[in-house]
């Protein structure tokens, strides 16, 4: 499939647009690199992955996660899901944590915070107690399950203050910007509406540029 450059009317080979869009979703700019649009690929990768990493750094690695429970919906995840390399592990971690005993991905990255009284696997609780001593756990006498004795999100807010929100903003905006990048990989550059000029029934701007050469 071919798109037309809005700058000089030249053809842009989009190769397989669906595959390119998927690659750009997984890693910003990767789809453009696959299409041979190197400058744009590296530019997107630098700008968006830079924002993503800065956000994760500012937010202590805690700001990208999926939590979708009544009363605790992480709406920012809708934006963050614009980057597949964030959305996929976040979804896996969220799914793993929803059933105590299921192992989490190594390192605990992108895991949602534990809610108060949430059941938790022994191994994960032990790991958290080492890394976040402020968290407490208790055994529920009714079913002998191990449960969280603290709201982990509050612990994160206490440690990070406003930087939790700043980090969240960075990662969310990176995800939203990547939607434009995915579209660019799918269909080529966005084009502004052609200005309506009375009596001008000529070809689109790209073709005009070609004709002028």
């Amino acid at each position: 499939m071919v798109a037309i450059s809005p700058d000089d009317g030249s053809a842009i080979d989009l190769r397989e647009p669906a595959r390119a869009a998927l690659l750009s979703w997984l890693v910003p700019g990767l789809g453009q690199l696959y299409q041979g649009r190197r400058l744009k690929g590296w530019l997107f990768m630098t700008a968006i992955v830079g924002c993503l990493l800065a956000g994760l750094w500012i937010g202590g690695g805690r700001v990208a996660y999926c939590l979708w429970k009544p009363g605790a919906r992480r709406l920012e995840f809708i934006g963050q899901a614009g980057i597949g390399s964030v959305a996929l592990p976040a979804l896996i971690q969220s799914w793993s944590l929803s059933t105590a005993g299921r192992p989490l991905l190594p390192g605990g990255w992108f895991a949602p915070p534990l809610m108060l009284h949430q059941p938790v696997a022994q191994a994960y609780a032990a790991r958290l107690q080492r890394s976040e001593p402020a968290l407490t756990f208790y055994r529920d006498a009714r079913d002998n399950s191990l449960r969280s004795g603290a709201d982990q999100l509050s612990v994160w807010y206490l440690a990070l203050g406003r930087f939790f929100d700043v980090g969240t903003l960075y990662v969310t905006i990176a995800g939203l910007l990547n939607l434009l990048v995915i579209y660019d990989a799918w269909a080529g550059p966005l084009r502004d509406a052609e200005p309506a000029v009375a009596g001008d029934a000529g070809p689109p701007r790209g073709d005009r540029a070609k004709a002028g050469r």
Partner: protein, 78 residues
């Protein structure tokens, strides 16, 4: 040492370091990234991308700066 351990150790250090950065400056990298992405998704030619990015930077800076001024005026009146 797992990434989670590193993150926990890094959190207070990061928070302390960023405490010395004015809040407004934290928005500048986002503004630059958004301008670059907006321009690069509308152009293919490097020179046009550069021109477009500067235009977007001006627009976004003016709009967000305007909002900031309005908020500051409202805050001073309150």
């Amino acid at each position: 040492m797992t990434p989670a351990h590193l993150a926990t150790i890094a959190m207070p250090v990061v928070a302390h370091a960023l405490d010395h950065v004015p809040g407004l400056l934290l928005g500048l990298p986002l503004l630059v990234a958004a301008s670059l992405v907006f321009a690069a998704t509308r152009h293919e030619d490097p020179a046009a991308i550069k021109r477009g990015a500067l235009q977007w930077l001006g627009w976004l800076g003016a709009v967000l700066g305007g909002v900031l001024v309005a908020v500051l005026i409202l805050a001073s009146l309150a």
